[in-house]
Symmetry: C2
Subunit: 153 residues, 2 copies
Amino acid sequence: MKRSESKSHCPINFSLETFGDSWSLLIVRDIVYFGKKTYGEFLESEEGISSNILATRLVTLEQKGILVKNPHDTDKRKEVYLLTEKGLDLIPVLLEMAGWGARHDPETNAPQSWIAAVYADRERMIRVIRDTVRSGGSIFAGQNSVVSKLEMD
Amino acid sequence: MKRSESKSHCPINFSLETFGDSWSLLIVRDIVYFGKKTYGEFLESEEGISSNILATRLVTLEQKGILVKNPHDTDKRKEVYLLTEKGLDLIPVLLEMAGWGARHDPETNAPQSWIAAVYADRERMIRVIRDTVRSGGSIFAGQNSVVSKLEMD
DNA sequence: ACACTTACTTGCAATATCGAAGAGAAATAT
DNA sequence: ATATTTCTCTTCGATATTGCAAGTAAGTGT
């Protein structure tokens, strides 16, 4: 079975085949939560992805329509990776996985105030995150982060 | 890095390390959506998991507290695999992944009426699914399926 | 007793991953 | 101008994981 062939058209299987490996969702997380956008920023993440794996994942995520690659405005060495609308649709998946992990990892790093805020007004939070990320911001990092808008940390 | 060591305590990474491989969530899906419970039933799924991979996944899912293995009531050859409360907590994750897959796979098998029903009253649906699966039922299969309770298909 | 079913295990080839090193282009420092 | 650094990405060999086919042991049905 080639990687391009799908094993079934179960929607959960489709999702797993699109982003269900060890690294793809961590790249999406880096964009959504931390506002990362370049190869070098993804490489620095604490999970320590190898440079060759990162390169292949960026290619496949772009092929699958989750990311788009654009030239950097001022630095011609850099590429800027952004989420497509299809990629932004992963935000609810990320939130649920973050909620499950925060609940079940006794050593979690997740700020409980943030997890609680998501559960308190989920639909609104999804809209705010989506708008923020679409305009280049993120949940935790940068000037216009979602948490700074909500005046919490 | 051994599989047992965690790369970080990011809640999303914790989730990925727990169930973020190609097969684990498909096993959980088989239980939640189709009421499967035995090794042989999991083996028959259309994605075609190999027997050795299935065996290792059942062990690790049990070690991680997602599943419990019990002897079958009447047939001593069989083992019955059930979700723990921790495993039932994956239902919202499954629903979001199913929603994303159904939206973005043009050839999806997902019944649109079911997807719509989940989005229409998400919190209630999660409770109904959880109660149904906890008592041995499933979303689509069997006498007391969630869809038969809702009188839809 | 005998054949069949069920839950796994084993061996081996194919594939994917990891980790370190390097290549080429563009930016920056001297 | 030249040298050094930065940045994206590639290459290579070792290791780990997966997939496939076959086999084992215990339990069941007749």
